[in-house]
Symmetry: D2
């Protein structure tokens, strides 16, 4: 950490900064420059509260040199984290993994039916919301535990793994009973009690980037999970808030190589929420794989026009089939394996 | 709601839109124009899921004409909502009300001492965090229930009301036992289980605008509280995310007159989090009152250089005293009463 | 255009809106709804100034239904625009076209040398700035006309076409004498006198999206060129301003399929400015082609560490060679031809 | 400038950074830390191109410690700059100065009539566009020189000073013949040929902040003017681009105290463009003055419903009169003089 002093800072003010750093338990190293002095804080262990230094008299600005996250960083762990699921799917390795399904679980016929279709097209993980955070209190909020039960039936029927969202700490324990991957949604990326509970669950966690979260904040949110001892974390880029209204969000695909350089965790992309428009899902799914994503999360509905939520961004099954063909070619062009073939459902424990 | 068709839309596609609207239980009214046809949806009760229409073939865009919120809107309730506290403070009326205190409760001496000072300067509500959501898992996270007990002692000693944050549904019930106003922080503005619990608590709620929430989303979050039967809601502008790094957030003061026009709920401003810089708090507090804010939330610490969190944006007590003098003059210039004098603590029940 | 009235709007206020619309020369059609009345403006020819209606008493909001642009829209012209250059390169067709070169022209050895290298690797258009808009007045601002002369020599030596930026109306005429494509930079996207001059130049124009321009604004800027009779326009996505500082800009690749749907003009991507980081250029170039871009603009410098500007985002020549191999595979996977082979320089007129 | 190395950086990579800095003509000072080494660049004169260092192998990031601007900074010049006009108006001193008028000059009756009204209410500077940059090529673009002549007549008739916009270098010379202050609009904040010409004009310049310009970029744009020898510069906050559509722009009033701390130049606010909504202009004008603005720029039209541009944000004259009364009280509450009384027009040279 570097405390940059104003040009007009007095010796006394510089001395106060040095003392404060020492009082906090670190070493201080003043560096007089041509225009101004800066004071280096040596030995930052990630717990330094820069605000205390920022507010001192004579200070121009405080610059973080160390990153505030630790266990998620590639400097902490060199090799890629692999998240391995019961049905053999591995996320973060050479496979490009596809999670697909409807926005919300609506009934057994819908979810089991679509799961069979998606499995046949190469998806190995089934998505579907049982608890839906909705902007309006008057919108459909999901089937709750009933939805979890239906997801489990679809898993039995197909051998797919299941990813579904938890929205509060108590509900998380329930989700953990049924799901193979617990999803933390964008609105809850900084819901710390929820993150701690997910960190304690022992289950893999899919952590979506918040609406306007920086990449540093995304990694710090993941740090909450690792700090609880859970290293089975998958990050997900799903678009950030922007000033243009042509798409629902602005899918920030550069986040993929940026995260890959900073962290050992796998990262996937969700072009369905990232664009909000059916016709843009396929090109952006291709682009995400080309940018190096470890997988995709795609909304597919057997009858999007009658979906209870997010119908406008859900693909028709035959569109999903076309998408799978296109990304297969791109994945192979990049030297990646495509989604593994699942064993027959009967063989799944 | 208006469904705008593409120029190339066929009669069949238009017919499909009309049928879908009718199938959803509303009336459809096609309006052929010079360039294209639009189909009006008549009778929108706020439950229409536009995504279902957005995804239909031939649709260019769906435009919301009705607002999706109801009970928070000024069209639902014409007169201003007043939130009245046990110590006589009224928020949303002619008074400009000031909430002040440290970012976090640290110990009894700190919180009771600063409360006495602030009360003497005209603040009637004491702020102080017992549960602190922090971006890093390694930062100080608050004293928990111990902090709530200390806030209650400060209330007894001074007659001030207490506002403090709840971060999860179970913790909210605990906060509700001690606090006069339950704060929902910016990171939790769309934490719906927390909002529902706050709506059921029967206590006034201070709802802070999310990091990049639109005003519509802020009002929809408040709608969750009113939908649970709790109309005692105070909104708070605290800055939104922006591209400039000179200030921590971009304080959006225009939100104050915008919210005043759309809603009957009171709205205050938090220039401490809104700027993140001590020297900018006083000018922006003045500006907030000049823009029509019903109150302010200000961080003050007896010794900001040693604060356990957010020291850089906390005022020194004498700076707060100067701020109070300046906003008193501006409030009066606008024909508003300034903060009421509290009764002697002994008289407080 | 739809003028939405407040619930409380009086008959008189509605009447005033109808009269104003008629006074402006259009037809007005009032549509009473359950909650409020809306008044449709029929016959919008793209010249309606909505501000006049927006300000009328009783008006809640004015919603644009027609797009304000005309000649750039796909509704105006169905088939894709092809921009054909003297050396046979066609932009907007089945080829993925690559423009490459240094940020700034520095001297003859640099520009002719790198052109030879790039041509050998498959680039058919040479980029290089002679006039450089720089944020600081103290930074290197380009060689001016001397730079244009050197670009022309590199064209003679290699047969590549030349694209270079013009920054003011008089300078544009000079650039038009030397360049095959005139570039309008992001800072000048709404410099209308410059756009008009470019529209009158008769030369193909590469129009970069402004720092925080919406797609609608980008298309309206292009409309200035077409309104002057110049249909040879190539759009360029080069990243927009965002709140995250990990990359210089946020490359908005979804803009590519969005523009393709709205307009017949070709669109390319500039991942060098779009990310600002050398190591992110190759993955984002791959992603851009996967998203459907008609071409790429890439900064390559023979010795980036000594570049006079933008060295941090310039590729080394061997990195560019690797990038070309990767995008060749992706382009072919999408059924596109890759960059055409240029005829021998001697054959170029 | 501080070059932060990766943890994994080798001695050789650090040595390369040191050599490069020395090769650029500066001193290098390596500072080994607990986690990583940083190399300080000593003697930065504002001309260092950080990109060259950013791109070196082993470099994590380059942090600017010195500001890249010089003459605009308060460290360069301690005392406030005062801009004094021929009619006695002084901007940047204790007066709060008001510039008012229609968006565009439409005809003599309009501009002279409104000038007389505004002068009577306390405005001392008349605004009015003769050259209008418009997003659509089909919108009204201003009267051109005819508009300048009419503005000069209004000046003769009232003694007000005139501010009007220039949009290209040649046009700027024409504007400089007629105007007392040359306005550079938001779209042209980084139009460097225009800035240079304005810097050479010898006339005071009003420089508006760009749509999404950081404060650093605003100050660097002003540096272009001072670098040409023109210190008579007034900055103007007019709102930045945001994600919310309730207002046209997000008026960033915190920019006012931020600029005041960094620079000696005066800064005013434009709440008309900053909000885009008539009903929000008055509260935000009050807030701007309360935040410390040296003046205001307000759109007023004799008949806003018939304005040729921006009618929705123009005040009616009686609304402007009310605004002037309110800001007079706030200015006085802050110890500022309000707008000076102009001498009788006959006395104006």
């Amino acid at each position: 950490m570097l405390v940059v002093m104003k040009q007009s800072a007095s010796e006394e003010e510089i001395g106060r900064v040095v003392e404060t750093i020492q009082d906090m338990g670190y070493d201080a190293r003043p560096m007089p420059g041509k225009q101004r002095t800066a004071v280096g804080l040596i030995g930052n262990d990630g717990r330094v509260d820069s605000a205390r230094l920022q507010g001192l008299s004579g200070v121009l600005e405080v610059i973080e040199v160390s990153q505030p996250y630790k266990q998620v960083s590639r400097e902490w762990r060199e090799e890629d984290t692999l998240v391995t699921l019961h049905n053999g799917t591995v996320i973060g390795g050479s496979d490009v993994v596809v999670m697909a399904g409807p926005c919300a679980v609506e009934n057994e016929e819908q979810i089991v039916g679509i799961a069979r279709v998606l499995r046949g097209m190469g998806a190995t993980i089934l998505r579907g919301g049982a608890f839906k955070p909705r902007t309006s209190p008057y919108s459909f909020q999901g089937l709750g535990e009933e939805g979890l039960i239906l997801l489990a039936r679809a898993r039995e029927a197909t051998g797919m793994a299941v990813v579904t969202e938890a929205v509060d700490p108590d509900g998380l324990d329930l989700v953990a009973e049924y799901a193979d991957i617990i999803q933390i949604g964008a609105r809850n990326m900084q819901n710390y009690p929820l993150l701690r509970r997910a960190g304690q669950s022992g289950k893999p966690v899919l952590l979506k980037r918040g609406m306007s979260a920086t990449i540093k904040e995304l990694l710090l949110a993941a740090e909450y999970l690792l700090a609880e001892g859970n290293g089975q974390v998958i990050l997900c880029e799903r678009g950030v808030r922007s000033f243009d209204s042509h798409t629902r969000n602005l899918l920030d695909l550069t986040a993929i190589p940026v995260v890959k350089a900073l962290s050992h965790l796998p990262i996937i992309a969700d072009p369905s929420h990232g664009t909000g428009i059916r016709a843009k899902v396929t090109p952006m799914a291709r682009a995400a794989v080309a940018a190096g994503a470890d997988g995709l999360m795609i909304e597919v509905h057997p009858d999007p026009d009658r979906a209870l939520s997010d119908g406008a961004q859900s693909l028709f099954p035959d569109q999903f089939e076309g998408l799978m063909e296109q990304i297969r070619v791109i994945a192979q062009a990049l030297g990646r394996e495509f989604v593994p073939t699942l064993p027959e459902p009967a063989q799944v424990p």
